[in-house]
């Protein structure tokens, strides 16, 4: 028997109906009513013909979205390592370069970056052909991957930098005292601690990328949003957007659970 079980529970504190509590319940009721309204709308406007025509397309769009985000986040993670390294470097030039990269890509909209890369590079076709890069920039898909990877690399570099800096200096010093090289110290001592801190921000970045990826529809990639726009432009039926919203919600929600699960796993040593 543990000590906890023996200790007596204090009586529950009184919970009066304060103004804040009433307001909370009213707001909750409004949200529930809105949710119920949407559900009723979906049931009432259920159109089997529309569904059978567009459901396969929505699924293929969803798959495009997942691929796009997965690949660009992975490439961005690789790119973010040298950028974070540069940001943390004592070398003035290197750290300035890292800062400038992050500054530009965080300070401008992803939409503008995607447009610039797709249509901007498109107008330099002869030069790109000369260096053999046109076959890459010709495809909307690879332009989107390129833009997204560069963008998420900037955010991930900042996440990584913040996480590394959150590890106390003593850890570095301890590793040095044990005779570990700086890179060894980073890999074996600092990163395992930093990544615990970085997990949540990484999860957020992934979620932001999933939602941000909806803009590729404007450069002719048929992702989930692209398929939605196509369905809407044919049917003029508002529920097409609602279906897309539900699919995005499901995607984000399953991701959230995955991140929760990983966090529970990697912080077991911290649970008291």
């Amino acid at each position: 028997m543990t000590a906890e079980a023996l200790a007596q529970r204090p009586p529950a504190p009184p919970r009066p109906w304060t103004r804040a509590r009433i307001a909370g319940w009213v707001l909750l009721g409004l949200w529930a009513a809105a949710g119920l309204g949407l559900a009723l709308f979906l049931v009432a406007s259920w159109n089997p013909e529309l569904f059978s025509q567009y459901a396969p397309r929505y699924l293929s769009g969803l798959w495009v979205t997942i691929q796009l985000v997965a690949i660009s986040v992975a490439v961005g993670a690789l790119l973010s390592i040298p950028i974070a390294y540069a940001r943390l470097s004592r070398n003035r030039v290197l750290s300035w370069l890292g800062y400038a990269y992050v500054y530009v890509f965080r300070g401008t909209p992803l939409l503008a970056q995607t447009f610039l890369i797709y249509y901007g590079f498109g107008s330099f076709r002869p030069q790109l052909e000369a260096v053999g890069l046109w076959s890459f920039f010709r495809e909307a898909w690879s332009c989107a991957l390129f833009a997204f990877s560069l963008n998420t690399a900037a955010y991930q570099a900042e996440i990584l930098r913040g996480a590394i800096q959150s590890v106390p200096r003593g850890q570095w010093e301890g590793a040095a005292a044990l005779g570990l090289h700086r890179l060894q110290a980073l890999r074996l001592v600092v990163l395992p601690q930093a990544l615990v801190v970085a997990l949540r921000p990484y999860g957020n970045e992934l979620i932001l990328m999933i939602k941000g990826s909806a803009i590729v529809a404007i450069i002719t990639v048929y992702d989930l949003m692209g398929e939605t726009r196509r369905a809407y432009s044919r049917s003029f039926d508002f529920q097409t957007y609602l279906w897309a919203a539900l699919l995005y919600l499901a995607l984000v929600e399953s991701l959230r659970h995955a991140v929760d699960w990983i966090e529970r796993r990697i912080t077991r040593h911290l649970v008291r």
């Binding site: 249509y119 002719t220 196509r230 003029f236 508002f238």
Partner: protein, 248 residues
């Protein structure tokens, strides 16, 4: 605080009244479809649609105000009352007629391909080729149902489809004859030319209005007849096209 709130409410209801009494006819157009409706460098609307709409308003003796709206959201915006009529080269199709009413046609169009001058092109051999269209147009649905082997790429506006044709990302652009004509006769479209005969003809363009707005439909139809009869239509037509765009 309460007084301020009351004052705000009062002013809000007053502006509401003012809007109700206002007889200005609001006209929605896209502003990215030269030479039918586009924005000049200084942000003014110009083009065939815009001038026809102005002529119709003069004829109906109403004040008109233009609202620019993305093509995707054109019909929902009309239904939501953001404007009262769409003069934006909108084809009369059965799908759209389920959502909105149309005036009589004010011109007739056909779908035609353009492609680079030096490219060999056969409208019947489109498998494996890429065709650029504008999302939500009849060209988009026509291309998707008639060229199943082709890669049909849908752009938010017509201008982006042409930009990619110039870049060489796509092999051809399928769109209305009139809008393609405007582009290939401008310096921007010097790369390209019409290829083959129109693939679909007799595409009637009308003014979309909210369902059941029959009074406005009647006035618009009268006005269209009037500007056809008094030469105003021919005058605008001549400014943009060397052929009669009205059709039969």
């Amino acid at each position: 605080m309460r007084k301020l709130l009351l004052a705000l409410l009062a002013s809000a209801s007053l502006t509401g009244l003012a809007q109700a009494q206002d007889t200005t006819l609001k006209i929605g157009t896209e502003g990215a479809y030269p030479p039918f409706n586009n924005l000049t460098a200084s942000g003014q609307l110009e083009g065939f649609d815009v001038e026809i709409a102005r002529a119709l308003c003069d004829e109906m003796k109403t004040k008109c105000e233009f609202v620019t709206q993305d093509w995707d959201g054109m019909i929902p915006a009309l239904q939501a009352g953001k404007f009262d009529a769409i003069v934006a080269s909108m084809s009369i199709t059965p799908e759209r007629q389920q959502q909105v009413d149309f005036s009589d046609p004010y011109y007739v169009n056909s779908l035609t391909f353009v492609a680079p001058k030096d490219a060999a092109f056969d409208a019947k051999a489109q498998d494996g080729k890429s065709i650029g269209v504008q999302q939500g147009t009849i060209a988009a649905s026509f291309a998707e149902s008639n060229y199943k082997g082709a890669d049909v790429k849908a752009y938010p506006t017509q201008l982006e489809a042409w930009a990619d044709l110039e870049n060489g990302r796509i092999d051809s652009v399928l769109a209305d004859f009139g809008v393609q004509y405007g582009w290939i006769s401008s310096p921007d479209g010097a790369c390209c030319e019409f290829k083959g005969d129109p693939v679909s003809r007799d595409d009637k363009i009308g003014i979309a209005i909210r369902k059941g707005d029959t009074a406005l439909a009647g006035r618009l139809n009268e006005a269209i007849k009037a500007i056809r009869a008094n030469g105003k239509y021919a005058e605008i037509n001549k400014k943009y096209f060397p052929f009669d765009i009205f059709g039969q």
